[in-house]
Subunit: 280 residues, 2 copies
DNA sequence: TTTGTTATTATCGTGGTGTTAATATCATTA
DNA sequence: TAATGATATTAACACCACGATAATAACAAA
């Protein structure tokens, strides 16, 4: 940095054009660059119902790894970034390729770069968060249908643990990833048995989602075109993991929504008015 | 992805140990990975004073580029990431190497990856933000003292422009970077003449700083050990670019600070009580 | 002692929020 | 037809945070 080599001396008299023409790839070591995508949705819990209405829960999409390393363990969808795309582009592409999930909100989260986070080689990953509405996803499974699964998330703040509940199809199994057992409370183990540092990434995403929920309109990425205020409130409650007061909640979201002249049908009780996200 | 090659078939029967032993570097193209650091401080404006007290302004640290590309233009401090460190480590190291600035708060901002952002080759940069107190910095200039400079920032929200005012030493020149002219209002040109996409990065940093100022204790990274409430308020006003009400401000920061039994001296008016950041 | 200047705190109105409770509207059933 | 069960919607009220202004305190200098 202090000694000027022959090349640096030459640079002094070159124009930028000339410099770029003679420039060769840098001699610094380069990492592999990947993206990992934390896909969230909020879906109804298939209740073991007495007649209670279905509440909702926050879910994250995972893929079972077919190859080494971490073979057979669950991991976030993701893959290598191409030179012709941004990391955001790569996140969208990988998501579509690996899970069939298209569109929806997607945003960059944080870049994970701990040296040994991938046992193979130097891999840096730009983590992303994606939100999609649970109604319009059909997991058309790029490789194998049984390899892609939704998991219920209940993450405690400021914890390196995430509690993941296997939520497969209609049955709602209670299990810790990689350590399934018969019913009861799930035993939480380090990383939940997730591949790489993906448990840490999910925790980061949950924190971000909770934070932005309160001062953005992020929640509407999880809603259909038309929705009731109760449904909207249930989405907030599922993410924040706490009950909210009806009246206060309605006041708070009042200027984010527009009312329609449609109502729910055949409910056995007073029908709910349908609302839509306010565009402005 | 669908065709299983010989190598993939072999993987099926290998243990993870065996796999890692035979693993060779991936065949995907790899980007160069850099960090760029937006260093903020808040310092007194050397007023052309009638007897007005010095107000404060937000400043960012820039380095004049000695080599191609963007030779002679101003740029953020930064450099290549090593395989043995995280991007955060690299940000701290480069900051110390290039500007002599040590310590202070530092956090990751956003990763910029637009394919042609560097004219040489594929370079992805993890942008960071750093906050330091203006009192304890001595820019001991890694290379050349005149190459490192503080610039006053006044960034309008949601604009791709940043207005930078050259704030050099005692004199407060009014100029747009790369397009200096004699006094008056600075003419704002695209990117302010900054290298690469660094204007965009600075805008991103200012947005983040303003946002987190209101719900974190980030401001104290810009304060000395002991400070008056007026000084603290001036820091907030300089960053948010708007006046705040005294009483309301004091109520808001009341539970972030501890009072001391010290006061300012020889002021010609009622002395101010000194406060410190509350640790808990 | 008066004046100029800044620090600190009191006060008051307003608006948002937590909380409870009343009212509305449907399907179902006696 | 009227009562019941269930959920939706909104009214009402207390309380607290905040915007905004004004009063008081403490120092140096004239």
């Amino acid at each position: 940095m202090s000694n000027l080599g022959k090349r640096e001396l030459l640079e002094q008299e070159m124009s930028e054009q000339e410099f770029l023409a003679q420039y060769k790839a840098v001699d610094y070591p380069r990492p592999s660059l990947t993206v990992d995508v934390v896909v969230f949705t909020v879906a109804d819990i298939p209740k073991n119902n007495y007649r209670k209405l279905p509440e909702k829960e926050l879910r994250v999409l995972l893929i079972k790894r077919g190859g080494h390393p971490f073979k057979g363990q669950w991991a976030l969808p993701g893959g290598f970034v191409h030179p012709s795309e941004t990391v955001g582009d790569a996140a969208r592409r990988e998501l579509l390729e690996e899970t069939g999930v298209d569109g929806g909100h997607i945003e960059q989260l944080y870049t994970f770069s701990t040296p040994k986070r991938d046992p193979r080689t130097w891999v840096v990953s730009a983590a992303h968060m994606s939100l999609i509405e649970s109604g319009q996803l059909t997991l058309k499974a790029g490789s194998d249908a049984s390899e892609v699964e939704w998991f219920s998330v209940t993450a405690e703040e400021s914890s390196k643990f995430i509690r993941l509940l296997l939520s497969s199809g209609d049955t709602h199994l209670s299990a810790t990833i990689g350590h399934e057992h018969s019913g009861g409370e799930p035993k939480v183990i380090e990383n939940n048995g997730l591949a790489f540092d993906h448990a840490k990434i999910i925790a980061c995403a949950v924190r971000r989602l909770r934070g932005k929920l309160e001062y953005t309109d992020l929640a509407f990425s999880l809603m259909p075109e038309r929705f009731t205020l109760t449904e909207l409130q249930q989405v907030y409650e599922a993410i924040l993991q706490k009950p909210l007061y009806k009246a206060a909640f309605r006041r708070k979201v009042a200027d984010l929504i527009d009312e329609t002249d449609e109502y729910t049908q055949n409910a056995g009780h007073r029908p709910s008015q349908l609302f839509s996200k306010r565009e402005d």
